[in-house]
């Protein structure tokens, strides 16, 4: 019954010479990345026409580990780079994989305009509630009262409700899962990849080094919090899915609608002869 020496099933999509990766023990980015690779494999998409684009930060390192065309861009700018690639080569499938700091603080404006234009991208945001790479500073997603290096007494501010922000800005597919809900997450990512238009998937993942340490949350504690407080409500209004990590973590696909994409509209308005 000794099985043949087998390879990890995702090795084909990994630059294995760069593994072990840089992420800390228990960092959830690796699990989110792994779910994303599985979804890409399952999607049936032409992976020779698929590129992963990342910004800066711990999550941004993903572009350096995937064995596909990939682009590690400047801080906050993954969406504009991906938009440019889509406009130049509409046949490309573009996956933006980055963190909350990158996509929603320095890159916040790019995010809202990508969503507004309904650019056909799949945006995966690993949300670990802080800036991990630079030393655990407060981010636009840090929960109120949480401790970070820049909020030692607790965060006085209100974090973004990312699904609501995405929906309000015009995203046509909006979902949230955690790394613990891995099978749902993977299925959701497959749907997001298949969706025509701007799709946004928020993935809650622990950052034990930056966030966990200061909030007395060991990696396993974070997963247990997800387990205890997760409520799955597909189709819930994004207004009602505000995160309260110690009380309510609403998960599911909240928005899935169709409207003309950026390229559809460009062709219709600017190239009417071509569109016919």
């Amino acid at each position: 019954m000794k099985a043949q020496p087998a390879d990890h099933p995702l090795n084909g999509l990994l630059r294995t010479e760069r593994i072990p990766h840089i992420w800390c023990p228990g960092c959830g980015i690796g699990t989110a990345f792994s779910a994303c690779l599985t979804a890409l494999l399952n999607s049936g998409m032409d992976l020779t026409k698929t590129a992963m684009v990342s910004g800066i930060g711990c999550s941004g390192r993903a572009a350096g580990y995937v064995k596909l065309d990939s682009y590690h861009t400047t801080h906050g700018r993954a969406i504009p780079f991906a938009t440019g690639m889509k406009l130049a080569k509409p046949e490309l499938n573009l996956v933006v994989f980055s963190g909350d700091g990158d996509l929603f603080a320095i890159g916040g404006n790019h995010f809202i305009h990508g969503a507004r234009r309904n650019v056909d991208l799949t945006v995966v945001c690993v949300n670990n509630f802080n800036y991990g790479m630079t030393g655990g500073q407060a981010a636009a997603t840090t929960p109120t009262y949480a401790k970070t290096t820049t909020t030692p007494l607790g965060n006085p501010d209100t974090p973004f409700n990312l699904p609501l922000l995405a929906y309000a800005a015009g995203a046509t597919f909006v979902a949230r899962w955690t790394i613990l809900h891995n099978r749902d997450l993977t299925r959701c990512l497959e749907e997001a990849l298949a969706h025509r238009g701007f799709s946004f998937v928020e993935v809650l993942a622990p950052c034990p080094t930056g966030y966990g340490r200061r909030n007395r949350e060991k990696p396993l504690d974070a997963l247990h919090l997800y387990q205890e407080h997760a409520v799955i409500r597909n189709g819930a209004s994004p207004i009602e899915v505000e995160l309260d990590p110690k009380r309510a973590i609403t998960l599911g696909t909240f928005v899935q609608i169709q409207r003309a994409t950026c390229i559809d509209m460009y062709d219709k308005v600017c190239r009417p002869a071509v569109a016919l």
Binding site: M1, K2, A3, P5, A6, H8, P9, L10, N11, L14, I19, P20, H21, W23, C24, P25, G26, C27, G28, I29, G30, T31, S34, A35, T38, I179, L180, N182, R183, T186, P219, L220, L223
Partner: protein, 88 residues
């Protein structure tokens, strides 16, 4: 197989339970323990030995209980563990 059931299904004798073999890629593991904590069959435990990076990879102490559900594989952040169907 010692599944905890509140009653034995009538067709228990006819159902073939899937069995798996779990592989651990020791040099990739960072000892986070996720696979150990969330394996539904308590197949894994933290090993006493170290890998090259100084982490304790898991060991399969009850390989015969593995049902090849792949959960250890998909929760692992480090591509360090996976299961395959056991050849019967």
């Amino acid at each position: 197989m010692t599944a905890k059931l509140w009653r034995t299904p009538l067709d228990a004798a006819d159902i073939e339970v899937t069995r798996g073999v779990v592989h651990i890629v020791e040099e990739r593991c960072k000892g986070c323990g996720y696979c150990i904590a969330f394996c539904p069959r308590e197949v894994l435990e933290l090993g006493a030995h170290y890998n090259a990076k100084g982490y304790h990879p898991p060991i399969a102490k009850r390989m015969e209980a593995c049902v090849n559900c792949h959960y250890c594989e998909i929760i692992c952040p480090d591509f360090a563990i996976f299961s395959v169907a056991a050849q019967s």
